[in-house]
């Protein structure tokens, strides 16, 4: 045991082959879209991995590097097959090694789980079976192409070692040509690579042998296996255990990493959102670890160190992959080790800005860490790597500048945190008795409770930084006049906005309510309810579930082609459908509300022009709010010389990440204006 207090397993060292790992926390492989347009590793890669190394991760495994030009499934993939990556490799590995943390490169060929759009070459796979997502017919590889793949793995592995990596991991798990061969669902070959498990695993063992031969005995070699593809005719745990046993018997491999699902078929189980129970994939490392002696990595929604410690203690795994937890808080390990785990900015498993941006070909970010994805530009979070309990900077910087933040939603809280960390004297006024604004209400639905960590994390950070938080404290222009502040940030959020077709309560619309009113308990719809989904995210589906749980008959109506269309982006669509089906929630699409009156709710089926009516007891609106900007404009008018900014929904109603990003940006910008120096200079 080497420190770590209550985490005796988590902070015990381990050797993977000849490489020492200081603790059991792995920042395992995940896409970032940080590569350049032409497939080169970037400065952002280095800054991103370095921040997690500095934050105490035991082992870092990079995102996949393509081993062959036929494998270019998404635009910003690292082209390991291009010798030009070497300089970028060295930048990354030097940055991480500066903190004494080992780093492995994951190398891969995605096989048929790919597009030919970038490469303009046919995609390669064991058989001409189209992938369920990309839906392109692949070229069934011939022996000479198989030989080429094996050689390309060896070449790229050697390049990785040359670039300073401590070893490589072969992704054979959820999106890989090796998976394609292993899985009966995609391997229909009749030659020596198809049929029996020995045949299907042949390519894997040939690649392992070639790579080990090429990199020599020193570097780490890991293999990541899928324990259950969760698809028809796919690989299941018995096959995975059998392959792991073969791997151990053949030798040359130092550890086994695990995963669940197929990236292009059952991704919602790979990058599970808060709707999937934590540790849902534990059976996989657990079963493999019982069968072999090699160290085994377990993954799957490990959010906090206590949970990881327990999994190690119970013997389910030797190492724990914590990806989103370390995206949200690069100091995840450091804080646990220092006995400050309660200060961890816990991941919400909301998938909004990490997973949600990956599928859209955007750089990886984080809903609650506005520095994630911008480390190279902004540096790590200003609250990183320093005793955050100290609060504001110890440096005297007279005279202290005073900032007033109006509104304690995510935007206001983040602005307060940023400004306070920059050394400003910050007072925050929240009109209600709770911090969190709409985020708090969003988390009040049982299956969305983890979203509430957003508020908890920010509130705690405000406390640690000494922000003067005042609840039940509405602000008017008079408050501003008497407050003696140098600047004001207005973060007063949005207000429910009744659409044109919905009469106000006083004119027959008393059975129409906004989602916010229902969640806040101001109204209690009963009987039959139509929920209007005009936002396409969790608002409508959350309230529908809540009301169905209260025995209402619920129908969601949307003008879009699907209800909650953006749930697909966060991988919540599948589980939503399962729950909606179980709760009897009806989903009706392509319908535009046109009026509400004596005849009930009139709907236009826009593709056909047909009219429909509903006569529900209640109508609940999940429609865009309007900015609550009256105070902002009143302050501007009353105090034209004041430094006043507005952020978040008060500027334009959007999702929580926008408020957080704006809070960070405006918090820094105001500091700069107030001190006429850069925030980074102010922080140093």
């Amino acid at each position: 045991m080497s420190g770590g207090g209550r985490f005796r397993y988590l902070f015990s060292p381990l050797k993977l082959g000849s490489v020492a790992v200081a603790n059991r926390i792995v920042f395992s492989a995940h896409l970032t879209n940080y590569a350049t347009q032409d497939g080169m590793p970037s400065e952002q890669h280095a800054a991103y991995y370095e921040a997690r190394a500095a934050g105490g991760a035991g082992l870092i495994i990079t995102e996949e590097h393509s081993v062959h030009p036929t494998d270019w499934p998404y635009e910003k993939m690292i082209h390991g097959f291009n010798p030009g990556v070497l300089a970028g490799y060295r930048t990354i590995t030097e940055a991480v090694h500066r903190h004494g943390v080992p780093i492995l490169a994951q190398i891969n060929h995605n096989g048929g789980q790919a597009s030919s759009m970038y490469s303009r070459l046919p995609v390669w796979a064991p058989s001409p079976v189209p992938d369920p997502m990309f839906r392109e017919v692949p070229k069934a590889v011939e022996q000479r192409e198989i030989d080429e793949i094996i050689e390309s793995y060896a070449v790229v592995a050697a390049r990785c070692i040359d670039g300073g990596f401590d070893g490589v991991e072969l992704q054979c798990s959820h999106s890989s040509i090796v998976r394609g061969f292993l899985s009966p669902a995609t391997n229909r070959r009749s030659d020596s690579y198809g049929g029996s498990l020995d045949n299907r695993s042949r390519l894997l063992h040939q690649i392992v042998a070639a790579v080990r031969d090429r990199i020599g005995p020193g570097p780490v070699l890991g293999v990541r296996l899928c324990g259950d593809e969760l698809i028809e005719d796919g690989t299941t745990i018995d096959d995975a255990v059998a392959v792991a046993i073969q791997i151990e018997a053949n030798g040359g491999v130092d550890y086994i990493n695990t995963s669940i699902g197929v990236a292009t078929a059952s991704l919602f189980m790979i990058e599970a959102s808060m709707h999937i129970p934590p540790e849902y994939a534990m059976f996989i490392p657990s079963a493999i670890r019982q069968a072999i002696d090699l160290p085994v990595v377990g993954v799957g929604r490990f959010k906090d160190p206590i949970q990881a410690e327990r999994a190690l203690e119970q013997g389910h795994a030797d190492l724990i992959g914590v990806v989103r937890g370390q995206i949200a808080d690069p100091d995840f390990a450091l804080k646990a080790r220092a006995g400050r785990a309660d200060e961890t900015r816990l991941c919400l498993s909301c998938n909004q800005e990490c997973v949600g941006r990956m599928g859209l070909n955007r750089w990886l970010g984080c809903i609650e860490n506005p520095y994630a994805g911008r480390e190279a530009e902004l540096g790590p979070s200003p609250t990183s790597h320093r005793p955050v309990t100290l609060g504001r900077s110890a440096e005297p910087r007279p005279p202290a500048r005073r900032l007033l933040v109006v509104g304690g939603g995510p935007g206001g809280l983040q602005a307060a945190v940023t400004a306070a960390a920059n050394g400003l004297d910050v007072t925050l006024h929240e009109a209600t008795e709770h911090l969190g604004g709409q985020a708090r209400l969003a988390a009040s639905v049982p299956s969305r409770a983890e979203f509430g960590d957003l508020v908890r994390n920010l509130s705690a950070e405000c406390r640690r930084l000494g922000v003067d938080v005042n609840l039940n404290s509405p602000v008017d222009t008079g408050t501003i006049g008497s407050a003696q502040v140098d600047a004001v940030i207005v973060a007063t959020g949005g207000l429910p906005n009744r659409p044109w077709w919905a009469p106000p309560s006083s004119e027959g619309g008393d059975r129409i309510a906004d989602v916010i009113d229902v969640l806040a308990g101001r109204v209690h719809p009963e009987g039959s309810v139509v929920v209007i989904d005009d936002v396409g995210f969790h608002q409508a589906t959350s309230v529908a579930e809540l009301l169905a749980d209260r025995h209402c008959q619920v129908e969601i109506v949307t003008k879009a082609m699907v209800v909650g269309q953006d749930l697909g982006i966060t991988l919540d669509m599948e589980t939503w459908w399962v729950r909606a089906s179980a709760k009897g929630i009806v989903q009706s699409t392509d319908l535009v509300p046109m009026g509400y009156g004596d005849r009930g709710l009139t709907l236009l089926h826009h593709p056909t022009g047909n009219e429909q009516t509903r006569t529900p007891d209640w109508v609940v609106l999940a429609t865009p709010p309007r900015p609550n900007a009256e105070l902002y404009f009143a302050i501007l008018a009353a105090y034209p010389d004041h430094l006043v900014r507005r952020i978040g929904d008060c500027l334009a109603p959007r999702r929580a990440h926008a408020a957080i990003i704006e809070g960070r940006r405006v918090g820094d910008a105001l500091t700069t204006e107030l001190y006429s120096m850069t925030p980074s200079a102010a922080r140093s």
């Binding site: 046919p122 001409p128 017919v137 865009p624 900015p627 334009a652 109603p653």
Partner: protein, 657 residues
């Protein structure tokens, strides 16, 4: 040398276009970051060299927080690129203009990480993002942005600028009641911002450089949008400020209607354009846009006075040399209006390409082949689909003596079958063009002539295998008496005779199983519906035809299917087919269902027909669907690449030059 109204010069402001063809500001994703790249220069130079009268460069955002797609050029970074493009295109005689835009509420905050700016807080139809209602300072910043960008373009050697008030534009959002609900001066006079922007641009570029305006003259939303009547007022009032006007259509509810697929007829905007042209009465040249891709249509539109010039962007993607080809009396390579390569406003940032012209977006075109010493200059190509024909055409051009042998009675292979679908008829033009060009360069074409493995093995020369595809084995269980057909069976079935279509009787139900969601499943369903009343489409997805989002026909296809009362069975996977029913399982919940079905049409992907390739020892080059069944674009690209790779044959013994 041919004469055509298309080839007449046109005076635009103080400049002259050598002909009436304009290449419009299409999105390309060729940028490096937000700067115009060398690839841009090569892309535009190819069109200028091909004779385009005017080339409008991809629209650049005039303000940094407007970042509508990742590779959208930014005017502040566009100077060097504009200069390079002007230098490359100028010598060819084209007018070169800079497209300028601000996307307003139709942008995204994903890249800028900033709020969107719009006249009012109407959420965008596609993204649902609620914009910031612009304050006066924001409006001033946008006007300044246009002025600064125009000045930069002018200083960089552009001949002028084109301001976007068409699709994806803040200016149109101000002009429209759909998006402008302001009660200040910019709401009371919703053209105020456009006039201020045009005035600012004019003062930035001076009197002699060209100032063009792209204007949505029909937002296809008459309840609040710009109507043709309103567009006439706008055009008449703005004409004195500009040097040309391009008439486009479309708005927030119709993003795909501005540059649609062949579902909309070519030249769909010509009547609208004529209305506007008549109204401005010669005070400013008016250009027609909107699927104008056929030379004959373009010429007669000019002759008939519908317009003064034509934007033929997609035609120039398919045939960069369109103008020079017409001038020589030739036939340009036809555009399919398929949008499969050129619709690149797509999160994946595809580089602009063309389904029929592989060099588009990858200029310059590779044609010169290395000279090689060959024992024989004879080339046998097995299969006359797009891959085989393109390979034959290019190889013959490079000096090969080419024979194409095709098993069936005519050219085109699967593409000819696909051309049966009404929306895909233009594929027939491509096949006829390929066949005709191949014949022109001396290719011998033999139909109804199957090549055996012995024929191929014993051929004295080089062989390329382009044998296409086969029906794949089914992925579901089938009862012995199940009736199953393929889209090929449907498209080639006899119609209009005494026999019932596909042997179907009244009341028989047809189910189309579409696990791909591309053009085929929807097209075959519509094809059946035209002949037989009872057809449903079965998809594993939440939306039918999901892949059609890439061509802009997603909502269109869904509307057409619903208007035709065709049941859409969503989120269901086919598990079993019997004589009278199909069984399905819900993609998410696992619930099973049974649907009546007398005939199942399986629109699954196909298998390669690679028997000949295997029988001949895998030694010959294989192209197109015979490698893996894919698109016409893949087939043509591989056909051309294979031919170029063969080089130019020199009989053995002659010196290599």
């Amino acid at each position: 040398m041919t004469t055509s109204p298309l080839l007449e010069p046109l005076i635009v402001g103080h400049r002259r276009m050598t002909n009436r063809v304009l290449f419009g500001p299409i999105e390309t994703n060729l940028a490096t970051g937000r700067a115009l790249s060398k690839r841009h220069t090569a892309f535009y130079e190819a069109r200028a060299a091909g004779g385009a009268g005017a080339v409008v460069v991809e629209q650049a955002s005039v303000h940094p927080i407007d970042h509508p797609y990742e590779r959208c050029p930014l005017a502040a970074e566009a100077g060097p690129g504009w200069a390079a493009i002007a230098e490359a295109c100028g010598p060819h005689g084209s007018l070169v203009l800079a497209g300028l835009s601000h996307s307003g509420g139709q942008s995204t905050s994903a890249f800028s990480q900033r709020e969107l700016w719009a006249p009012s807080d109407e959420p965008d139809v596609d993204t649902g993002e609620v914009p910031k209602v612009m304050e006066v300072a924001d409006i001033v910043a946008v006007i300044d942005g246009f002025a600064g960008a125009a000045a930069r373009a002018s200083q960089s050697g552009m001949h002028g600028v084109e301001v976007n008030a068409g699709q994806h534009s803040l200016l149109r959002q101000f002009l429209s009641g759909l998006t402008n609900r302001r009660d200040d001066a910019y709401g009371q006079d919703n053209a105020l911002l456009v006039r201020q922007v045009l005035a600012a641009c004019r003062s930035a570029i001076g009197p002699t450089d060209v100032l063009g305006l792209r204007l949505s003259c029909d937002e296809l939303a008459p309840w609040a949008g710009i109507t043709p009547d309103r567009a006439i007022e706008l055009a008449v009032s703005l004409a004195p400020m500009i040097d040309y006007l391009i008439v486009v259509r479309g708005s927030i509810f119709s993003a795909a209607k501005t540059r649609p697929t062949a579902i909309d007829p070519p030249g769909f905007n010509l009547a609208l354009t004529k209305l506007i042209r008549d109204a401005v009465d010669g005070s400013v040249p008016v250009f027609a846009q909107g699927s104008v891709v056929d030379v004959d249509q373009a010429a007669s539109a000019i002759e008939a006075g519908d317009c003064d010039g034509v934007e033929m962007t997609r035609a120039l993607l398919a045939a960069p040399n369109l103008v020079t080809t017409v001038r020589k009396g030739g036939r340009p390579r036809p555009c399919l209006l398929c949008n499969q390569g050129c619709q690149v406003r797509d999160n994946r940032n595809p580089i602009i390409s063309c389904n029929v012209e592989p060099s588009t977006g990858r200029e310059p075109q590779q044609t010169a082949a290395d000279r090689i010493e060959a024992m024989s200059n004879q080339l046998l190509i097995v299969g006359a689909g797009p891959a085989g024909l393109e390979a034959a055409r290019v190889a013959a051009t490079n000096g090969w003596v080419v024979e194409v042998r095709e098993r069936s009675d005519g050219p085109g292979g699967m593409a000819a079958v696909a051309a049966s679908a009404p929306a895909q008829r233009r594929i027939a033009d491509l096949i006829s063009w390929l066949e005709n060009e191949a014949k022109t360069v001396g290719v011998t074409l033999r139909y109804g002539d199957e090549v055996s493995s012995t024929d191929a093995a014993e051929f004295d020369g080089t062989v390329i295998i382009a044998t296409g595809s086969l029906t794949a084995p089914p992925t579901f269980d089938r009862g012995n008496d199940a009736s199953i057909a393929t889209p090929v069976d449907v498209f080639t079935a006899q119609r209009g005779g005494d026999e019932p279509f596909m042997g179907l009787e009244h009341g028989d139900s047809v189910v189309v199983w579409d696990p791909i969601g591309g053009p085929t499943g929807v097209a075959v369903t519509e094809f059946i519906a035209a002949e037989h009343s009872n057809v449903a489409i079965l998809t594993p997805d939440a939306i039918v035809g999901t892949m059609l989002s890439l061509t802009g026909d997603l909502s269109g296809a869904n509307v057409r299917l619903q208007q035709a009362d065709i049941p859409i069975l969503r989120r269901q996977r086919l598990t079993h087919v019997d004589a009278n029913s199909v069984r399905t399982v819900h993609s998410f919940t696992g619930e099973t269902a049974e649907h009546p079905c007398s005939l199942l049409v399986d629109a699954s992907a196909r298998y390669p027909n690679d028997a000949l390739w295997h029988e001949t020892g895998q030694r010959f080059e294989r192209i197109g669907d015979a490698v893996a069944p894919r698109t016409i674009g893949d087939a043509i690209r591989e056909g051309r690449a294979a031919a170029i790779a063969l080089g130019q044959p020199i009989p053995a013994g002659q010196p290599t030059a």
